[in-house]
């Protein structure tokens, strides 16, 4: 019922025409600290949130459920038409994931139904420099939110070592990276560099190279045993693969890293391959760290920040995109259901519509 209401109210929201403000008053919204806040109204205008605050005396639309920002998959393979990679060359910085998008991908509908409103599709991280990612909305009128995101790559032994074209060692990988950056650092990685790593040497080597090339510090996509190089990650924003079932050690490492100020952004690539993987990973993170706010941010605000869109996405705040999900309970409650999904102020999914389509 609520979904229908949202749909009706937001029906005029497509096509970029300015629309009248919509003021939603849900039972609660998920606050930044992960707690539920009641009595908060969210005003939506032209696809964005324009105000968040106490409910106005009249004009607000009451909706049942918990309103939360849509989840953002920080590092994913969703929406690709096959594998986006080039294996005959050592470096492929010019590859664009945007060219490998399948607009008809069935994954989008599944992700929407699970509360994921944006995915960062990156090329296969099988080269030291693998190419640029693309930020996609999982529904709505506009699919590509950013046609070209940061340069991505990898210093992971298992991913890049290739006997035919090389490199065959981490030192070789770092050498290749240094040569590429010396040639045209700004062209290659001026918009940022996301590097998959799995040990301390890779992290330190990559940071030293970026410093010498005058680039910002790379964003690390952390694989393997984070406890083995946790000292290098303290205080940083890092991407971690979605892990719904950490070992006792992994959970303890997450807890200690969180305590040392490390912030996580979760990506499904290299982790749980399920459409629901992001949320189950956030639940595991919440259980391990005891910090529901940080765990929820790991699938909303932190991926947005990693993508250079802090405050624009993944939060319920004035100025942010109206990519919102209405849940039947707190989204970190496994028993919660998605009641409706809005992208850019437009209601794009509700359960009844999905049932009709089946």
């Amino acid at each position: 019922m609520l979904g229908t209401l949202l749909l009706t109210l937001a029906a005029g929201g497509t096509g970029g025409e300015p629309t009248a403000a919509l003021v939603l008053l849900p039972d609660a919204v998920v606050a930044l600290d992960g707690t539920l806040q009641r009595g908060v109204a969210v005003t939506i205008e032209d696809g964005r949130i324009t105000a968040v605050g106490p409910a106005p005396a009249e004009g607000a639309v009451r909706v049942h459920g918990v309103l939360a920002p849509g989840m953002v998959d920080a590092y994913s393979a969703w929406g690709a038409d096959g594998f986006v990679f080039e294996e005959s060359r050592q470096l492929t910085p010019g590859l664009r994931a945007a060219d490998g998008v399948d607009p008809e991908s069935e994954a989008f509908a599944g992700l929407l139904a699970r509360g994921v409103t944006a995915v960062h599709l990156v090329p296969e991280p099988s080269n030291v420099l693998a190419g640029r990612g693309v930020l996609l909305a999982t529904g709505g009128a506009l699919q590509m939110l950013a046609a070209q995101t940061a340069q991505t790559g990898s210093l992971r032994a298992s991913a890049i070592y290739d006997q035919r074209v090389g490199p065959t060692s981490l030192a070789g990988g770092l050498e290749l990276l240094e040569a590429a950056l010396a040639e045209s650092a700004q062209d290659v990685a001026g918009d940022g560099l996301w590097l998959a790593v799995q040990e301390s040497e890779g992290v330190r080597g990559a940071r030293a190279l970026c410093e010498r090339a005058g680039l910002a510090m790379p964003l690390l996509v952390c694989h393997g045993d984070l406890g083995g190089y946790g000292g290098d990650l303290a205080g940083a924003l890092v991407v971690v693969p979605a892990d719904p079932q950490p070992s006792a050690r992994a959970a303890e490492v997450w807890k200690r890293l969180a305590a040392s100020g490390t912030r996580f952004a979760v990506g499904s690539r290299g982790g749980n391959p399920e459409l629901n993987g992001l949320r189950t990973a956030a639940m595991a993170l919440s259980r391990a760290t005891g910090d529901a706010g940080a765990a929820w941010a790991a699938v909303t605000a932190h991926p947005a920040e990693a993508l250079g869109m802090a405050g624009e996405m993944g939060v319920i705040a004035p100025g942010a995109r109206a990519d919102l999900v209405l849940w039947s309970a707190h989204p970190l409650d496994a028993a919660a259901r998605v009641e409706a999904v809005m992208i850019g102020g437009e209601t794009v999914w509700r359960p009844s519509a999905a049932e009709e389509a089946r």
């Binding site: 719904p244 189950t280 639940m283 989204p331 028993a335």
Partner: protein, 441 residues
């Protein structure tokens, strides 16, 4: 000064002692909990659908003494008058029984890493004694399980061999090692669940063939007893005849001595077959890893053929034979695993499969299959998909406890194990709220 030999106990005595202790080890283990105290919580889920609020739970030596909505502490009598009441620990949230994981990945590496699988190997004999540090790897596994809210498990000897051994139910001791309690079971796998080879398709026949052979052997044992009786009679007869023959005075060449009867051959004993006989006698449960409908039907056929206490493990397509399983009273242990079928094929999702089995009246347990962290998330998804929360909770606690014969698990009541969970939200499925596990002191 005494000679050294008198100070040190003789080696033989030591050996005998250690043999005795290892023989006694699997039973009657002391989990090592010592203290008596009371936990006061906002509420307690004492059984699926039954809530006590507020809740006072007295625990001593790892077991629950009593549960009440009032403080019923009594000062113990001592020779010097009344002693002190047990201390009270006040906590926020709701207590619930620890989860019983009827299909875990836990086990001593030594046993699970054995290259040659012997059907007669026993988990109980391979469990480490309860000394801290004895099996650090296993301790780490127990810690992970405990963090996920698990209080008891089934330790399987394997799940991908036709007959991989005899596993056991187990609870956790103070040193975070498992100790055997509850039932033992024969771990079997048939069909697609068996690792390797084209022969996988007729594994089910091989398994029931083995049971049939064991039964036939026992029958032949009865025949042997009969033959032995006859032989003894024949022998007496023979002795008589021989005596007559020897004593005969007018013996001619035509008189032949009587022929000595042949002793019947004793059927050979075989440890692997003895295990099957234990199962046929109802001393061992038979857990069969069966995923496809054909394999589940093979288990149903075995149920008709033999008097076995069968359990289906895995059961990816068990829901397609839900009514037959309910009629045969064969429980099913489902593991959530990666729910790839939920993506685009809702009718084969974990939730849909669980609901079909549950609605048909099958006893369904939800187990981790080694993925402890997913257990509560999956259970919550079941509730989101419309399942009755109490039935889902039973599927994680009371039902698996019953299947594994763990009478001290699955609820909060006097005599039950005090390994519990404490959750802050409306249910243990809410990961936005605090969640703790209570390890007895």
């Amino acid at each position: 000064m005494l000679p050294r030999d008198l100070l040190a106990p003789p080696l033989g005595v030591l050996l005998t002692l250690s043999l005795l202790s290892s023989a006694a080890r699997p039973q009657d283990q002391d989990p090592g909990y010592t203290r008596t105290y009371v936990i006061q919580a906002d509420a307690a889920w004492v059984a699926p659908g039954e809530v006590v609020a507020p809740a006072f739970v007295q625990i001593s030596e790892g077991k629950i003494d009593w549960v009440s909505s009032q403080d019923r502490r009594v000062a113990p009598r001592t020779p010097f008058g009344a002693g002190e009441k047990p201390p009270i620990v006040k906590v926020e949230g709701t207590l619930a029984a620890g989860i019983v994981d009827a299909w875990s990945g836990l086990g001593p590496g030594e046993l699970l890493g054995e290259r040659r699988v012997r059907p007669e190997r026993r988990m109980r004999e391979a469990l480490p004694a309860l000394y801290s540090g004895e099996d650090a790897g296993l301790q780490a596994q127990v810690l992970t399980a405990r963090n996920a809210g698990i209080a008891a498990v089934y330790l399987a000897t394997g799940s991908s061999a036709l007959r991989s051994g005899i596993g056991t139910a187990a609870a956790f001791a103070a040193v975070d090692l498992p100790y055997a309690t509850g039932r033992e079971a024969l771990d079997c796998a048939i069909g697609g669940a068996v690792a390797g080879g084209p022969e996988a398709s007729y594994q089910a026949e091989e398994l029931s063939g083995a049971f049939a052979a064991a039964r036939a052997w026992r029958d032949s044992l009865d025949d042997y007893d009969e033959q032995l009786e006859k032989y003894e009679k024949d022998l007496e007869e023979y002795a008589k005849k021989l005596d007559e023959f020897v004593k005969k005075e007018d013996r001619s060449d035509k008189d032949k001595p009587p022929t000595r009867p042949k002793r019947p051959k004793k059927p050979q004993a075989d440890a692997a077959r003895d295990v099957l006989l234990e199962a046929l006698d109802g001393k061992l449960q038979v857990r069969v890893r069966a995923e496809s409908l054909a394999d589940v039907r093979a288990v149903l056929a075995m149920d008709g053929q033999f008097d076995l206490d069968l359990v289906v493990v895995g059961g990816l397509e068990a829901d397609l034979a839900a009514e037959a399983l309910a009629d045969a009273r064969i429980p099913v242990i489902l593991a959530p695993g990666p729910d790839i079928h939920a993506d685009g094929h809702g009718e084969r999702s974990f939730a849909a499969r669980w609901m079909r089995l549950h609605d048909a009246g099958v006893e369904v347990a939800i187990a981790s299959g080694g993925a402890e962290g997913l257990l509560l998330a999956r259970a919550g998804q079941l509730v989101a998909a419309g399942a009755d929360p109490n039935a889902v909770w039973a599927s994680l606690t009371a039902v698996p406890a019953r299947i594994l014969g763990l009478s001290a698990h699955g609820g909060i009541a006097p005599g039950k194990d005090a390994s519990m969970i404490l959750f802050g939200g409306s249910s243990p499925f809410d990961a936005s709220a605090p969640f703790q596990t209570h390890k007895p002191k």
